[in-house]
């Protein structure tokens, strides 16, 4: 009997304890996150059991220095990027005495952790966000603040720094985030192989880009089997290829430049159906698949997924051309590989590429005003992320950094010679399209329907028409139109 009573009491206690938490989660999610850091710290300090001595005690240092507002900036990237963010935070802290920014690195399970923190009423003040998952849903619930409002209310804000193409707009007035660290998809090539097989190097400028047939023909000349014969030779042995003409990256950013080039988009213009189901969309996918199964100039998807890194592939003459993200420059430059970049070929009238970038979001917390100062610093401070421009990893998202003087100053002699023409210029003249994740609603779910179906295309089991038709209805059922309109 006693046991039962005791049990009941304990049960009730546990219930109350966690119910309190659930109630909180229902709210706006921003209510009392302000005090949490210091509470936890104080608690860790005075009740310090043997379990958490020392290191756990110094959680947030807000408690000791009265007026300083503690801001947490979460991001997922380790390595050099983390180091640069920490430098930026330090620079900010030294010029903003009332605010202290700490970079909070979450090296894995980023969305899980952010979601959990939000559910637990412990919202970080500034977050890097995945535009395909959390960014827009959180903005819809008001957990991410409207950056536009803060910018409009700040007379000191230098709006010349802001570029429309880098905005993540929930609707016409609500800015959910701003791009940080822009990149685009580009062509890397190995000049030595072009010289060896007597093929003219690809043009640097998108204005002169190769058309698709020229590209395919050149790729065939550069695809060499183990007997030294190229893919145009009737005796060519496609089973034993030594040098591949081209590798393409198998994700949305890898195909979108060609769909844009054909005048298409991820969704049809009225935002009611997927763009791959249009004749142009299927044509793009089929042409990319034909590189492998008709012309034998590109490795099979399994091979390319498991190919050595781009740097290794170019350095060891395994690949003549590769469509990949511009961020690869950082590794290539660091490894000292001999390479260059060039414009992507065009499938339609005009050669295009697509940009990708992360989003920095201001969270709707009590400290949002102070946190905005940091967001503002990230958006307007010229050269804040300069080490990453110098390393070739990123391009600016601050429009003031897109002037020739500044850009030339961050292009080093390690950068490939076409860097400015091929990579920087498209960001300024609109050749690099806004990432589709910034304006396609429900992108994540649509993509999770399309991608598996494309596996059958890349493995050669189905044509583009068959693969897309098999999921067209399912994918269209997930289509929900555009953001920002």
């Amino acid at each position: 009997m006693k046991m039962k009573k005791l049990l009941a009491v304990l049960l009730a206690g546990a219930m109350v304890m966690s119910m309190a938490g659930c109630g909180g989660s229902g709210g706006s999610g921003s209510a009392d996150s302000g005090s949490t850091g210091s509470d936890a710290a104080a608690d860790a300090g005075d009740t310090g059991s043997s379990a958490d001595t020392g290191s756990a005690a110094d959680t947030g240092s807000a408690s000791e220095s009265g007026d300083v507002v503690e801001i947490r900036f979460t991001e997922w990237d380790g390595g050099d990027t983390l180091a640069v963010y920490e430098e930026v935070a330090e620079k900010f802290n030294s010029t903003h005495p009332g605010i202290h920014v700490t970079v909070m690195n979450i090296p894995d399970e980023y969305d899980t952790k952010i979601t959990t923190m939000i559910a637990g009423n412990d919202v970080p003040e500034v977050c890097c966000m995945n535009s395909d998952t959390l960014l827009f849903p959180l903005a819809e619930e008001g957990i991410i603040a409207n950056l536009q409002e803060y910018i409009d209310n700040d007379p000191d804000f230098d709006t010349e720094c802001v570029g429309d193409q880098f905005k993540y707009m929930l609707n016409a007035d609500y800015m959910a985030g701003y791009g940080v660290g822009s990149e685009n998809i580009t062509m890397f090539y190995n000049p030595a192989l072009f010289a060896q097989y007597g093929v003219e190097e690809p043009p640097a400028s998108y204005a002169d880009a190769w058309d698709w047939d020229t590209f395919v023909e050149n790729a065939q000349k550069l695809t060499i089997d183990k007997n030294g014969k190229n893919a145009l030779d009737p005796d060519f042995d496609p089973e034993n290829i030594d040098v591949y003409g081209v590798t393409i990256s198998k994700w949305w950013a890898g195909y979108m430049p060609f769909l844009f080039s054909q005048g298409g988009d991820y969704l049809t213009a009225d935002g009611s159906a997927i763009g791959y189901a249009t004749p142009e969309g299927k044509d793009v996918l089929q042409k990319l698949a034909d590189l492998t199964y008709v012309y034998h100039v590109a490795p099979t998807p399994t091979t390319s997924q498991t190919m050595p890194g781009l740097s290794e592939a170019l350095a060891t003459n395994k690949v003549a051309m590769s469509f990949d993200g511009q961020w690869s420059n950082a590794t290539l430059m660091n490894d000292g590989v001999e390479y260059n970049v060039a414009a992507l070929p065009k499938m339609g009238d005009k050669a295009q590429t697509v940009a990708t970038f992360g989003a920095i979001a201001l969270m709707n917390t009590e400290k949002a005003d102070a946190a905005f100062e940091f967001v503002k610093f990230m958006m307007t401070e010229v050269g804040a992320c300069e080490p990453l421009f110098l390393s070739g990893l990123w391009l600016p998202t601050n429009m003031k950094e897109y002037n020739d003087d500044y850009i030339q100053s961050v292009i080093t002699d390690k950068h490939p010679s076409n860097y400015y023409e091929t990579i920087v210029k498209p960001m300024m003249d609109g050749t690099a399209n806004t990432p589709i994740t910034a304006y396609v609603k429900n992108f994540n779910k649509i993509n999770d329907v399309i991608s598996p179906a494309l596996d059958d295309l890349w493995s050669g089991e189905k044509t583009a028409d068959e693969a897309i038709s098999s999921i067209e209805a399912d994918a269209n059922a997930e289509v929900a139109g555009f953001y920002g309109k």
């Binding site: 046991m3 049990l7 969305d111 849903p137 959180l138 997924q305 999770d448 598996p452 596996d455």
Partner: protein
């Protein structure tokens, strides 16, 4: 007199039992019960983690079973296929390795450590290696297959080969099962073997009449854990295949995680979790029920 004593004994036993189990029971009440109950409640709600859960009855379950949520049956199928292959494969292999390592041999400590190595290495490091080993073009396994004039495989990148590949890779991660078997094997008193040896029993007799019955409680444990773990397989899909190719390795718990943290549909994820919970519960209860037919405890069941 006698009666009084037995009553006292049972009360005393209750006190001792509850006393010893108290930390664990408290732990269950504090850390597990409420989250479990809450997730059950969420399964009946529209709940996107941010907004207040909104009660909708069995809507989520209906969406799952009627195929409105298209990936549900797909992922259930992948998981069941995996479990059917993985549970026996892991058990048999781990048991064989444990028998092997329990033999009298030179450098036993050394070999035991080698077989446990794949479990010690961090997942980042070992999955990187497996991806390279199974590379269809230049990986070691295809090189060996080619050398043996056997057909090559696409491994993780083929629709039909991805599940067997994950099972195969999983076998090398059964170090902990092996160790549990080993500990069980070593608890078998050697007198039983000696007795049988005196009577002229051969290796097979020893295995069948001593080893198997004496290891049955360990086998039972590993079977139950094997079932629970196989149906909750997640890591390989998360780290290596991302559910591909063409959803062939879209495991149930991976799909559930995707619902919860990628699509922010915690209601649907909770509904999926509870469907799985009930399936695992029924299977486990079934194994427990049959266990008194084949599991032998030297200390007796009670």
């Amino acid at each position: 007199m006698k009666k009084k004593k037995t009553i006292k004994m049972s009360t005393w036993n209750n006190i001792v039992g509850w006393g010893f189990a108290l930390p664990a029971v408290l732990g269950f009440l504090i850390f597990n019960l409420v989250p479990m109950v809450l997730s059950g409640y969420y399964s009946l709600c529209d709940y996107n983690i941010i907004k207040t859960p909104e009660f909708v009855g069995f809507k989520n379950f209906i969406a799952l079973f009627t195929g409105q949520e298209k990936t549900f049956w797909l992922s259930a199928k992948a998981t069941v296929l995996y479990a059917i292959m993985a549970v026996p494969a892991n058990l048999i292999f781990a048991f064989m390795i444990a028998l092997l390592l329990n033999c009298d041999m030179k450098m036993r400590a050394f070999f035991r450590s080698l077989f446990y190595l794949p479990c010690i290495l961090p997942a980042v490091a070992s999955s990187f290696v497996w991806i390279l080993l199974m590379n269809p073009d230049f990986g070691l396994f295809n090189t060996i297959l080619e050398w043996l004039h056997l057909p090559k495989s696409q491994f993780f990148w083929g629709k039909d080969s991805v599940l067997p590949s994950i099972v195969f890779m999983g076998i090398w991660g059964t170090g902990s099962t092996q160790v549990i078997f080993l500990a069980g094997l070593q608890d078998i008193p050697s007198v039983y073997y000696e007795a049988l040896e005196i009577d002229g029993g051969n290796a097979w007799h020893k295995f069948w009449n001593v080893t198997l019955p004496m290891i049955s409680s360990t086998l039972f444990f590993n079977l139950v854990m094997g079932i629970i773990n196989a149906l909750q397989v997640f890591g390989q899909a998360y780290i290596i295949t991302e559910g591909g190719p063409n959803n062939a390795s879209l495991f149930y718990v991976y799909n559930l995680w995707r619902q919860a943290f990628k699509y922010m549909d915690m209601g649907m994820a909770s509904a999926m979790a509870w469907v799985l919970f009930l399936v695992v519960l029924v299977l486990t209860a079934f194994v427990f029920k049959t266990s008194n037919k084949w599991v032998y405890y030297e200390g007796g069941e009670e």
